[in-house]
């Protein structure tokens, strides 16, 4: 699946997105955040406060307990500040 990052999540990880291949036991958004955090310092920094991180599965807001199975794109970003 494709992971995309925005705002300071993007800045901390240092890229706008990437293909990821999480193992089968990573089932939810929250588990994916923990798995990504272990990929390196920059990820650990981006996801240091997991509660703050918002996620969207295929462009729809989701909570951290939602299953990621079947999704093509997952996005991680801080709370929105548009408007």
């Amino acid at each position: 699946m494709k992971a995309v990052y925005f705002a300071w999540v993007r800045e901390r990880i240092g890229k706008t997105g990437e293909e990821i291949l999480p193992p089968d036991d990573v089932k939810t958004v929250g588990q994916l955040i923990r798995w990504l955090s272990a990929k390196g310092e920059e990820y650990a920094y981006a996801f240091e406060k997991p509660d703050v991180i918002r996620a969207a599965l295929d462009r729809t807001h989701v909570k951290h307990d939602v299953d990621i199975a079947g999704a093509r794109e997952i996005a991680f970003f801080p709370p929105m500040t548009g408007g």
Partner: protein, 156 residues
């Protein structure tokens, strides 16, 4: 029917509003909300708005559809800019048209509350001294403003 646009260029609130009412005699109230970039006491050179292309349009369309379910609206416009925006410039426009003033006003308020907390946009400050400032933090008060509408729907 609703006009939804994500764009770098500026918008013209007046022409968007008059497009909604032109040739019609069933609209009793038009509300336009324009959000502008503030200088924040003079320290700000610009805000840079990042967005999630694709999702921004879709999410605003969902919020607009929700508003159209809640209120009898004869027209809705929602335009959100991205890119670098200087103090005094426009950021966001919401226009609502309805037979009834309370519907037009409440729907505009609802749309702005939801755009603030659900539309995937992020603001970064650029400071006058040339440095790149912080990302604007989301405000608790904005979350509470959006939550009002959940309560309103649950309670009737």
């Amino acid at each position: 029917m609703a006009v939804i646009r994500i764009q770098r260029e500026d918008f013209d609130a007046a022409s968007e509003a008059s497009a909604l009412t032109k040739g019609r005699t069933d609209i009793g109230a038009v509300v336009t909300f324009t959000g502008l970039c503030r200088a924040e006491g003079g320290k700000l050179a610009a805000l840079e708005l990042e967005h999630y292309p694709g999702m921004a349009e879709e999410e605003i369309a969902r919020v607009v559809a929700d508003a159209e379910q809640r209120w009898p609206l004869q027209g809705v416009v929602a335009i959100h800019r991205y890119g670098k925006i200087a103090p005094g410039e426009n950021i966001v426009l919401v226009v609502t048209a309805s037979s009834h003033r309370i519907a037009a006003l409440e729907a505009a308020e609802f749309l702005m509350d939801y755009l603030k907390t659900r539309a995937p946009f992020w603001k970064k400050e650029h400071l006058l001294d040339g440095s790149s400032g912080d990302w604007v933090e989301a405000k608790e008060v904005d979350d509470r403003a959006a939550e009002r509408w959940d309560v309103a729907q649950d309670g009737g």
